[in-house]
Symmetry: D2
Subunit: 346 residues, 4 copies
């Protein structure tokens, strides 16, 4: 039995962790952390788990939790996890951090884009970027996982084989991404109100979004050289789902079959990555509620560009599901344990 | 291994059966029936199961299917299942019919409300109305299950204990119900188009909806006398979910605790029925994607009426999930096998 | 030129007043009141009017505004308008209050349901309930208008002719109402977040909603005797629109033609009330963005009940549009001046 | 009084023309053309205009209509308008065609992208591309207007000043566009069903969409040389609205003020084009129901690219509103006559 603690359990990502872990017979949630709801029944706040748990929410105490848990998930604001991190905690429990605190190898990048000093740069070297499709082996042995951002997960999986195989010119990459509103979190802000989001669409963080350097760092590793991208996220009136449409110039003539083969080279054996046949396009509804990433592409011969498209559920493969996938690897379990949920449609 | 065949697999309810059964290790789907898509890959039509099955759709052939399957689900238009039904089929396979064909004991009621002659009234006596919370024992031994309608499931579960305990005057029952749009099915009709449904709400089938006699028949059994109701369904711009708001005059003074106790008398041990504490209200999001029914009530002292409220996911407890629950009972399995999905929120 | 001031201009109802008044050539908005945004450009907050006005928001000052304006609209929280009201203000400007402060003749009812002491009961006698279809003549001469609530407007217009003509038993009235989310206002609350509202539906304020006594008071005037009702509002995932489904027992045998004639007796000459032919149902999309109220009915012979249905746009006929309709009457203009917007569909 | 006839009045664009024209006192709709609903009341199909018109729908007869009308709007499938066009019709009435029939100067381009032979290439030379902000003078004197497509209108207005001023490298233009679902029209197709569109997002027509050559032709005129673009439209779960996010490399160093000035050079005096201050982004809700186009931009110094963003209501500025704007010009009226509707929010 894996004992799991969640700090930030009443945010959307934290609550999704609860949904995924509460159904498992080999995992016990020992800690529902929520600064805002200390002492309240978790199932009173998230009634989807009514009658399934009667635990109450506890205040933040990562050190205390480390004594109880085998694994700690932190679904908390930027800076929290790093500010609490100690060697003692890591000796007692594995930590999977869903914030950006340990995603960059260079603390300067973090501080530049997140505008806060990094509270614990000494742990950056050992932290493993938790994208199992790329870093599977290193995740298995890690003590500290930096769970990837939602946009970076979708963008990277969509672009990785093309960059790795040098099919595209990395100086020309443009990523136009669209996300459902759960990505904005559960805090009470006017721009997240139903009437402000519904029946509308907007770009945001244009040329300044914090996920830009995260995508760039990972793509740079894949390319073997620094990659700079244009990245524009958009807010879409739906609860869940991220769709990435990426553009880049082809480095040479290539057929759809060759592009497909390049994707298959990396993903054919991946349970969670479904590369679509040429001519198809991803739709977020086909992955909703699941840990799948659907990927497709289209060669645009008129412009000699490749259009690459990917979709994930931002709450699952983009957050809680990927965290559980990492946990499975860290505890020697089959990677898709408890993650075989079939997408819910309609 | 239970071998299951689905006729009408490419409708929304049929596809939901696929979602629930495909994840099970003790069930094998041996037949994806779809008159409209014969020969096409099922996973090409419902891409949520891409990479999870490579079966193709087959034409309707219930007799042929009976040779292959232990259980047949018919998620088909009214009249189909009854028109195909034979004693031979029932000797070979259990049948769970999601249409209305076998829901009424009296063929005249069916013919009056559905405006088609009943093709096989001889099977009506043995058919069991598949609401496990009420008919559990009879379902276990049944060959032919009439899987309840979505509105009747929600309405009946909401009202049943109150009627049974004679807390309400059955001459005063008014049921105002609201449903997501998946209940309208997947056929291409102008009124089901996105732009026609979105940002709007409407009543339909006022005083004439076919689920009226189904609710009345079941409530009459509970009351021990004929019950006539007012029933008004409404179309709501959301994919899934049914909400029932029911009104009736109280037969005498009663406290909230007494009403709660009456509900608990019938549902305290039911896994899928969650009676809420006094003062709470159900919301469809708390049951979405799951087989739960959430039920609540409010005493209105000013009018001496009881307001009873219930919510289900129309595709799960209102259709495919309840069908699987019936299958579990028929095959001697724990009733919630494969049905423990936690509602997906947001 | 009518000089109009709006206090509470940055709430949804206030901004809807701006939308309706800014397009008029016979009205000038002289005051955009907004406590939260003092000094900011109104068109920066509501960009729909970008380039159409460059006024900035001003702090609350009803007495000061009375010196500038011919008419003051208060789209403010309960208690504000009454707390500011003076004889001097009413001598200088007409006041149309969109809150509940002056809707009840009896201050006790207000204090019981709104749980605040009434700040200015002395003005209650002269305040006119601003439902033009009923109180047209009194509105013309009024200094102080209590603009009706959204649910009461829709419920009352739907029921009024039936009550007045004694076609229904007023002891049996049940009103099940559904509203879009703009009715919840623009304040930043978790329950109003997109992800909390979208893909869900819920009842709220069951047996306790503050619009109950308002509906009862007006229906009592129509009936000539006290009327008590059951009223249940529901939150629907759409921006605008209210749908009322009301039930009552018929007092005697009646045909659809007779019911239609009774409705026509009161509404045939009303520009904004559109009584539908028997057999039709209202849909909120057919009134969206407009000041229309669509009304329909269905006789349920099996239960001897009448089902009455009505729909309005809660922001227009349920708030700002009706306020403008009242203003038109008060200033001797054709009642539909500036209110002929055709509903926007889809 | 301008007598206007609409062929294809029961499609979404046709019905939007009705909404815009029916409110005008200087226009009379003399023909509601609808092949599908011949003889039925128009207001029975589009109940938003109930009680406002009692005209019935008529069969297609463009020649007959030319005898009655001063202006004919054809909101019809590709190929219809051109197949009916004659010199006689143009001598009797102005024609504003909302289809693509007359948008290209080269019939080969039409035939290649639309896959149908052009029925009347002889009228291509005289047809004027009806984008008033660019072709105002030629529109005034035209007999035949090719009303622009929705995506091209938004894309072109967003890019035009940058191309014209040579601020961007036209070889690097990528246009990622997103549209509400009304753009898919009112025909009953499974992919347009509520449950298929809601809570999902998808790209479509990747590298093959028919609006590509239309955008290219107009941008080529602006650039003075052939322009080839990448264009990807996406379907968004909302009724109305188009958002364009366009990317291109800057041709040299430029400040935000300079970019803004370049936009203002072309649009400062345009009533319908609202260029936003640097730092802002367009949102479709701010133009919904109106003829406005909101345009913004962001310089991305890291990549030396310019991100250009624009939004329109696809039914208004992207179809019916622009058609009316053209009509106003053709009949010597102020261009914004009947088009001053303020966007409806929320």
């Amino acid at each position: 039995m894996i004992k799991a603690g969640i700090i930030g359990a009443t945010g959307y990502a934290g609550a999704e962790l609860v949904r995924l872990l509460l159904q498992r017979e080999d995992v016990q949630i020992v800690w529902y952390g929520s600064k805002s709801y200390v002492g309240e029944d978790f199932s009173y706040i998230y009634r989807n788990v009514a009658h399934l748990t009667n635990e109450t929410c506890r205040d933040d105490d990562m050190a205390g939790l480390a004594d109880l848990a085998d694994v700690i998930f932190t679904a908390t604001p930027q800076g929290f996890c790093a500010s609490q991190m100690t060697e003692e905690i890591l000796q007692k429990a594995r930590v999977i951090d869903l914030s950006a605190d340990f995603r960059f190898k260079d603390a300067d990048v973090y501080e530049k884009w997140y505008q806060i000093p990094h509270p614990a740069p000494r742990f950056l070297p050992e932290a493993v970027y938790g994208l199992p499709e790329i870093n599977r082996d290193r995740i298995r042995g890690a003590r500290l996982i930096a769970n990837p951002g939602c946009y970076p997960t979708c963008a990277f999986l969509t672009l990785y084989p093309m960059v790795r195989e040098k099919l595209i010119d990395t100086d020309t990459i443009i990523i136009d991404a669209k996300s459902g509103t759960s990505g904005a979190g559960r805090s009470a802000k006017v721009p997240s109100l139903y009437c402000e989001v519904n029946e509308s669409m907007k770009p945001y963080g244009v040329a300044t979004h914090r996920h830009t350097p995260e995508i760039e760092e990972q793509l740079s590793y894949a390319a073997g050289r620094p990659v700079t991208i244009s990245f524009t996220p958009h807010l879409v009136p739906m609860n869940r789902g991220i769709l990435v449409t990426a553009y880049a110039s082809l480095t040479g003539p290539v057929t759809a079959e060759e592009v497909k083969a390049a994707y298959d080279k990396y993903y054919a054996d991946e349970y969670f990555v479904r590369v679509m046949k040429p001519g198809l396009v991803p739709q977020t509804r086909w992955v909703e509620g699941s840990n799948f990433a659907d990927i497709a592409f289209q060669i645009d011969e008129r412009t000699n560009r490749l259009v690459m498209m990917g979709s994930i559920d931002n709450m699952v493969k983009g957050a809680a599901g990927q965290a559980v996938q990492n946990m499975n690897l860290m505890f020697g379990l089959p990677e898709n344990t408890g993650l075989k949920q079939i997408p819910v449609f309609p």
